[in-house]
């Protein structure tokens, strides 16, 4: 019983990480119908920025966190302006390939700036684990969980209750119709990128103490986050959360109940099964078919 609970905690810890990354994918898809394969790299930039600002320069944690997120979001804006907005024929495949190229570029730049070594930062609040019925949970996992939930609530509020949010959703439904009603679609696209890369940076910064940071951490995290987003239903914010936790818990259960050798296999086979039964993901709507 104690073991089962510990597997659940392991799953929740990795699951929360996947969920926050999936959130960025889903959010951007929700507003632009674009899948940003450089998202993992923005997560990496967030983590490494925190390493520099908090770990090396010794700024207060909150300030370091804020500056990291703002800086990465600004990088996201520059990326959108230079590489996405300038494309003459914005066919989805063209844009996806551009994001793949951007991910390679960002990885290279990060390697030059931060070097090839792995960097680490301390936990936000102590490293004594919390004891729950014999199983141990890291305080950092709680941080991740709380911040992820806060981001989702804030985004949900933004999309459902503010005019800008609704305008952004309108762009995703029909870009042309939104433009005809006077919504500045270009600016909405930019905003979507800023928000998405910003959440990516938050993800990178809050997971840095657990995962440690290196220039090449983005690829695997991006892949896992993408899987979580697909699992939950691309475009659905709550789906990203559910998908992330499900993926994490499945992985941990696979290790505990079967074998650690099959960890990734179990998770991905289940992903295939779920997508086979319900192609739009657990909480996704059928409109995803358009892509």
């Amino acid at each position: 019983m104690q073991e089962i609970l510990q597997y659940l905690f392991s799953g929740v810890t990795s699951g929360a990480i996947y969920a926050v990354i999936a959130l960025g994918f889903s959010m951007l898809y929700n507003s632009t119908e674009l899948i940003n394969f450089a998202h993992g790299e923005f997560v990496m930039l967030g983590g490494l920025a925190l390493v520099t600002l908090w770990g090396a320069l010794g700024l207060p944690l909150l300030a370091a966190l804020l500056i990291s997120v703002v800086a990465v979001a600004a990088a996201g804006a520059v990326f959108q302006r230079l590489a996405i907005a300038t494309v003459k024929d914005p066919h989805p495949i063209t844009l996806v390939i551009i994001t793949v190229g951007a991910s390679i570029l960002l990885r290279g730049v990060a390697m030059i700036i931060w070097g090839k070594d792995v960097h680490s930062v301390p936990f936000f609040s102590g490293h004594a684990s919390i004891d729950v019925a014999g199983a141990k949970l890291l305080p950092q996992s709680l941080w991740i969980f709380v911040i992820a939930a806060a981001i989702i609530v804030a985004l949900q509020f933004f999309f459902k209750a503010t005019l800008t949010g609704k305008a952004m959703e309108a762009c995703a439904v029909s870009r042309r119709a939104a433009w005809l009603t006077g919504i500045p679609t270009g600016r909405m696209n930019l905003l979507a990128f800023v928000l998405s890369t910003g959440t990516g940076a938050v993800a990178g910064a809050i997971i840095a103490p657990i995962t440690m940071c290196s220039y090449d951490m983005g690829t695997m995290l991006g892949l896992k986050g993408f899987c979580a987003a697909m699992l939950g239903g691309l475009g659905s914010l709550w789906g990203a959360l559910v998908g992330g936790f499900l993926l994490g818990i499945l992985e941990a259960a696979g290790v505990g109940l079967l074998s650690s050798g099959y960890k990734d296999a179990i998770a991905f086979v289940l992903l295939l099964l779920i997508l086979y039964v319900k192609p739009s993901g657990l909480l996704g709507s059928a409109k995803v078919q358009r892509f």
């Binding site: 073991e3 510990q6 597997y7 905690f9 392991s10 799953g11 810890t13 990795s14 990480i17 390697m111 090839k116 070594d117 792995v118 680490s120 301390p122 490293h127 684990s129 141990k136 890291l138 997971i207 657990i210 995962t211 440690m212 290196s214 090449d216 951490m217 695997m220 992985e251 941990a252 290790v255 505990g256 074998s259 650690s260 050798g261 960890k263 990734d264």
Partner: protein, 386 residues
């Protein structure tokens, strides 16, 4: 009618003559220097090996040249980056053999890359001195392949010897799912019986995994007397942190794969009390004055920190030793590869950074168990055990 095609050919003829002249002159030019090839994973996942190795090779070459070269001939290093990818290593060795026509090759840095290029060196009859640890490189012995890194086997023997002293009987293994981890696991399983150890759990983790508490929970349920983790950063640091998190009160052993200050930095407080085998370079200052390697170690460390302006790494010594062994073997051969190979096999009692080399036709690694020492991490630094 009056035009003739001859003017077209005239410049061509000149170029042909130039080309011929170059072709004839090229071997004469090449003989002025001895070219040494290097294959290191300078970038990519194993850059922590290849980067210091490349620096060390270039340092050794510069030093030998400053001292007048070998038999009056200067050395030139040609280095290609393998990115720890066996395919890139193969294209690298082909360039070294066919384009650069090097005399001997140092590297690659990793075992899979070495195994991939080994056959090419054998076929081309070029001495290859690998900097990788896998035992499969020199066992079985092939005529042209040597290596300077200590075998995994010796690291496992050092760990198990230490466990026996502490009276540990049951152990659990946690290995990374790649060539390094698999090779370590094989050796750990093979030698356990010799030391009367029983393996009660064997788990693995992915090189980029961020949480190993699930594996450790399973291991804890098997109640081992010690845990052996086999991997390279950052995985083992995560394992150390997770063990602290789960409050598993069992000694943790790590492999020589994390024997660098980086590991202590990454694992932080969780590194305290961890035991691991390492080459003597990490604890050079703590060695007794009568240690045969002391002089070679101090010399290398001093030069490295002076010329590279960075702390010495535990891995660059493999390339440094390889170049020094090669220089020793090249003396008086006039650049004949077969003679260099024969001389390498005859090297005896060569005190170097990674150990005291004793090559023979049966042993192309030439290192004994004394090449490894056990260290314990205490107060954020290394302490020599025993």
């Amino acid at each position: 009618m009056t035009r003739k095609p001859t003017p077209k050919w005239k410049p061509c003829g000149i170029w042909l003559a130039v080309l011929l002249a170059v072709l004839i002159a090229a071997p004469a030019l090449a003989a002025e220097v001895y070219k040494i090839g290097g294959l290191f994973s300078v970038t990519g996942p194993a850059s922590f090996l290849g980067d210091p190795e490349k620096r060390s090779l270039e340092m050794a070459v510069a030093e030998i040249n400053a001292a007048g070269g070998i038999d009056g001939k200067m050395l030139e290093a040609v280095v290609y980056d393998t990115e720890a990818d066996p395919q890139k290593a193969v294209s690298g060795i082909n360039k070294l053999i066919n384009k650069d026509r090097v005399l001997a090759i140092i590297g690659p840095s990793t075992t899979p890359a070495t195994l991939a290029v080994k056959g090419f060196a054998e076929r081309a009859r070029i001495p290859l001195i690998s900097c990788a640890a896998g035992i499969a490189i020199t066992e079985p012995v092939t005529p042209w392949t040597f290596k300077t890194a200590q075998n995994d086997v010796l690291a496992v023997a050092a760990i198990y010897g230490h466990m026996k002293q502490r009276g540990i009987e049951k152990i659990a293994l946690l290995t990374v799912a790649n060539a390094f981890g698999e090779s370590g696991k094989q050796q750990l399983e093979r030698q356990a019986g010799d030391y009367g150890l029983q393996i009660v759990a064997a788990e693995s983790f992915g090189g980029k995994d961020t949480d190993m508490t699930a594996q450790l929970t399973k291991i804890r349920a098997a109640s081992p007397g010690a845990i052996v983790c086999w991997g390279t950063n950052p995985g083992p640091a995560v394992v150390a942190k997770n063990i602290r998190q789960l409050q598993i009160d069992v000694p943790l052993y790590q492999s020589h794969g994390v024997a660098s200050p980086k590991f202590i930095e990454l694992a932080g407080e969780a590194a305290e009390g961890i035991c691991l085998p390492t080459g003597k370079i990490l604890v050079a200052g703590l060695l007794p004055p009568d240690d045969p390697q002391k002089a070679a170690l101090n010399d290398y460390i001093l030069r490295y920190t002076e010329t590279q302006k960075m702390p010495v790494s535990g891995f660059g010594g493999y390339a440094w030793d390889a170049m020094r062994l090669l220089a020793e073997a090249m003396k008086g051969t006039g650049g004949d590869r077969a003679k260099i190979r024969d001389n390498l096999e005859k090297i005896e009692n060569f005190a170097a950074v990674s150990g005291v080399f004793r090559f023979s036709p049966e042993d192309h690694n030439g290192l004994g168990p004394e090449a490894f020492v056990m260290v314990r991490i205490e107060g954020g630094t290394w302490r020599l055990e025993r």
